[in-house]
Amino acid sequence: MNDVTADRVRALLEAYGADPGRWPEAERDAARRVMAVVPALAAEVAAAAEVDILLDTLPDPASSPALRVSLKDIPDHARSGWLDRLAALWPFEAPWRPAAGLVAAAVVGILVGVSMPEVGTADAAETLAFHDPVADAAAMASGASALEFRP
């Protein structure tokens, strides 16, 4: 990119600071060339460098091996829902496969059950029709007994 102006270099300094390593790569070389031929930018460079130096007084946060261990334990302790719980029971492959198999078997079972002829229903009705009078009679008999023995 060759259309980097002195104003654009000022904007880069204000936004990204004095280290060209932080500037957008596409503008970096052109901006350096502009800086080399515009001495008036030196004051902006110095001002940006001062802020960089102050920011660099903050120490780098140390890493935490204990945190890393804890993060790596997350899959062992934090189950992500029913699929993950299934994974605990099925460690051989992705758990959705056996889950899909179970669901497919259930669907086939329901479809077969629904499409079966209703043979058993008629028998059951006949059975009820046959047994109901007996039950009624027994009830009547026991009722009569009860009446007989009522004081």
Partner: protein, 177 residues
């Protein structure tokens, strides 16, 4: 990420090895203390493990991870400072301090305070670009803004820092504030 979404702990642990240290540093600079930063990173990786299926190849994994961490950091800051709107924080000028000769440790503490006092988006932009050395494009992506908007956030943040750090700047660099 697809392997993590399928529940592969080996792929997940590789992601921890690759990014956790830098993510911890990012979080610590955003929230300002170690314990909260560790909570942020813990919450972030837990969210990754539980929600990896939501990742789309349109976003770099690191960008997605940093977005999650930033949101977790914002949650931390809201819980900690429920009455402060981060967009309306006014910087305190430490230039009136009586003890102008600051040690580098004191200077770092003042810088830390000035950074903490910045509006959250300005602080995040500076942390991503200055400390984490993310490119402008990637930092803009993490913040969900254009590169032009990111540069505006950076410039305003750095101007505010320069104004707030007028005293320490003179002590550290040797000039008159």
């Amino acid at each position: 990420m697809p392997r993590i979404a399928e529940g592969d702990p080996v792929a997940y642990r590789a992601l921890v090895d690759r990014h956790s240290d830098r993510l911890l540093a990012f979080a610590e600079r955003l929230v300002g203390d170690r314990a909260s930063a560790e909570d942020v990173v813990q919450d972030s990786y837990l969210a990754v493990w539980r929600s990896a299926a939501r990742w789309t190849p349109a976003a770099k994994v690191s960008t997605w991870l940093y977005r999650i961490a930033r949101n977790a950091a914002l949650d931390q800051l809201r819980r900690r400072r429920p009455t402060v709107d981060p967009e309306t924080v006014v910087l305190v000028d430490p230039g009136d301090r009586p003890d102008r000769q600051l040690s580098s440790r004191q200077t770092a503490a003042v810088v830390r305070g000035a950074l903490d006092a910045l509006p959250e988006r300005q602080r995040t932009a500076i942390v991503l670009v200055h400390y984490d050395r993310r490119s402008g494009a990637e930092a803009a992506d993490i913040l969900g803004v254009s590169v032009e908007a990111l540069e505006s956030l950076l410039a305003r943040g750095r101007r505010a820092l320069r104004a707030a750090l007028d005293g320490p700047r003179a002590d550290l660099i040797g000039g008159e504030p």
